[in-house]
Amino acid sequence: MGSPELASLYQQVILEASKQKHGFGLRPEPHPSNHQLNPTCGDEITLQLVTDSSGEHVEKLAWEGQGCSISMASASLLTDLTAGLPVAELPERIGLFRELMQSKGAGVEDDEPLGDAAALEGVSRYIARVKCAMLAWTALEGAMMESAAK
């Protein structure tokens, strides 16, 4: 059996999200996208930023990839969080999530804006896993940069 710390890392919501993989499956048509890879383990993700016709709101993220439960859960929870959000709000959420991940177990003052993704807080106690949790979020940043470059 695992320790309480391990249980707080692998919360039910995380294990479920890692299996459900909301947003899994890339769109055939082109969207701003980005590929990220964790060189230690070879885990990777390709993520598309699908917006509504105005380009101002996220319709839904679409992604494919393979990796550990943390990276898969994180991509799934990121997809849930961002659906319908104004694109302009993404940088702040990503920044907050990065802060949470780098908090070494201390958490952030207000993790409400992260929704269920706040459940990933436990990851911040395991430096080696922060990269896993950040993979999808970094890919979203990349996709936004591509979109801005156009």
């Binding site: 059996m1 695992g2 320790s3 710390e5 391990l6 890392l9 692998y10 294990l15 299996k19 230690t40 383990c41 070879g42 885990d43 393979q66 990796g67 550990c68 439960s69 943390i70 395991y126 896993r129 896993c132």
Partner: protein, 429 residues
């Protein structure tokens, strides 16, 4: 414990007491360090040797003439003699490097320099170009693959790769077919850091000799774990790292046959490797000095010599035997768990003590986390062998790599945890 008796758990515990890092708690459990394939822990004797050097003899080597400098030089060269004796080489056949990776790159760049016309007449034998072939294998660590890819790219030579079979042993039929008269160099690992495969050195050397190719042996996973005699293995070059054999970080060894080392052009250039330097040109010292530009890893060389003393006192044959036992126990235990696939051959005679495995449905990172939660340190990932993992159909694996200081209780703790891990992550079958 007697040198003649096999290492048992009691003996292992006595050895472990010499290693301060093994005596700590991780996540509330006593650390079970089973990642020695990545880097070994260090006994107090090695730490003391380094410190003693710094506290009493530290000075520039091969440069100074004052008392400390002379003492430092003597200890540094004694360390070289120790390494040479350990692998059955002559003293001037041992070149210090920062690690095995640098040692392998040294050969590749030496050949590159010869191919660019440097090194004079005697270096010509190393020159390669379009039409020439370098051969390596699918089972290599990146350190014994990428330098050859780059060498091929720099010189126009072609790289051929001997494939492995499903059990990760080399396809020796393919090897025989690939090692043709165009082949100038064959590089392969003695023991795989993933599949545990012990390669058939004699057969591979015979294939290379038949076509006049040079043989480079990656001995990173053999020298720390079994008696290795480079002369008996009849290889031209061999590379290994100190940190995997109880020594400090930052020190490695290139063995090269004397005649070859003295013909190979230098790699790094700078101080202490020349005879005469003018503004136009430098003349180089004989090997090994010609490859040791700049201030060397002096304290680390002396630490490595102390590590060899320790290994010699334990006995390489006993270490090899003990690890085979631990590896076999791990193999049996893991293979018996539903949903676990052990990589590499099942024949124990073909295996080192390392066991890498795939847990169906659970990513290696998650397996590693589960074990770490119990204080078990093992490695997850591709272990710097992506092509091999790709060939075996996994992205990342979980690797247990024991050393002589590990106990069967630690192996059993891994087996227990592996037996639970799929259930923990919600998989049942």
């Amino acid at each position: 414990m007697t040198q003649n008796l096999p290492i048992d758990d009691a003996a292992a515990a006595v050895y472990a007491a010499d290693f301060p890092a093994l005596d700590q708690e991780v996540n509330g459990h006593r650390l079970a360090y089973l990642d020695s394939g990545a880097t070994s822990q260090k006994p107090t004797a090695v730490l003391d040797a380094e410190r003693d050097f710094y506290e009493h003899h530290n000075a520039a080597v091969h440069r100074g003439a004052h008392t400390l400098a002379a003492l430092a030089t003597e200890r540094f060269e004694d360390a070289r003699a120790k390494v040479a004796g350990f692998i059955g080489a002559d003293i001037d056949e041992v070149v210090w490097t920062s690690g095995a990776t640098e040692a392998l790159n040294l050969i590749a760049y030496g050949i590159s320099n010869a191919s660019a016309g440097l090194g004079g007449e005697s270096a010509r034998r190393f020159a390669i170009g379009a039409g020439d072939v370098i051969v390596t294998t699918e089972g290599e660590h990146h350190a014994n693959l990428i330098p050859w890819q780059e060498l091929a790219a720099r010189t126009g030579a072609t790289l051929r790769v001997i494939p492995v079979l499903d059990d990760a042993t080399l396809d020796m039929d393919a090897a025989a077919a690939l090692i043709t008269s165009e082949v100038k160099l064959l590089a392969f690992t003695h023991v795989s850091n993933v599949s545990a495969v012990i390669n058939p050195v004699a057969e591979l050397v015979a294939l290379a000799r038949a076509v006049g190719a040079l043989v480079v042996l990656d001995a990173c996973q053999s020298v720390p774990h079994m008696g290795v005699n480079v002369r008996e293995l009849d290889v031209d070059f061999a590379a290994f790292s100190g940190h995997k054999m109880l020594g400090p970080t930052g020190i490695g060894v290139l063995y090269g046959r004397s005649e070859l080392l003295n013909a190979l052009p230098p790699f790094l250039t700078g101080g202490s490797m020349i005879t005469t330097v003018t503004l136009e040109k430098a003349e180089y010292l004989p090997a090994p000095q010609r490859f040791e530009a700049g201030t060397q890893q002096v304290a680390q060389a002396i630490g490595l010599a102390a590590a060899i003393d320790y290994l010699d006192a334990v006995g390489l044959d006993r270490i090899h035997e003990r690890e085979a036992d631990l590896g076999a126990r791990m193999y049996r235990g893991a293979a018996a768990i539903p949903g676990i696939r052990v990589l590499g051959p099942s024949d124990a005679a073909l295996r080192s003590g390392v066991v890498a495995l795939d847990v169906e449905g659970v990513h290696a990172h998650d397996v590693g986390q589960y074990l770490d939660d119990r204080g078990i340190a093992i490695r997850v990932g591709h272990h710097c062998a992506q092509p091999l993992h790709r060939r075996l159909g996994v992205t990342a694996s979980t690797r247990i790599s024991p050393y002589f200081y590990n106990t069967t209780a630690e192996i059993d703790a891994v087996i227990d945890a592996l037996g639970e891990v799929r259930a923990y992550f919600g998989l049942t079958d």
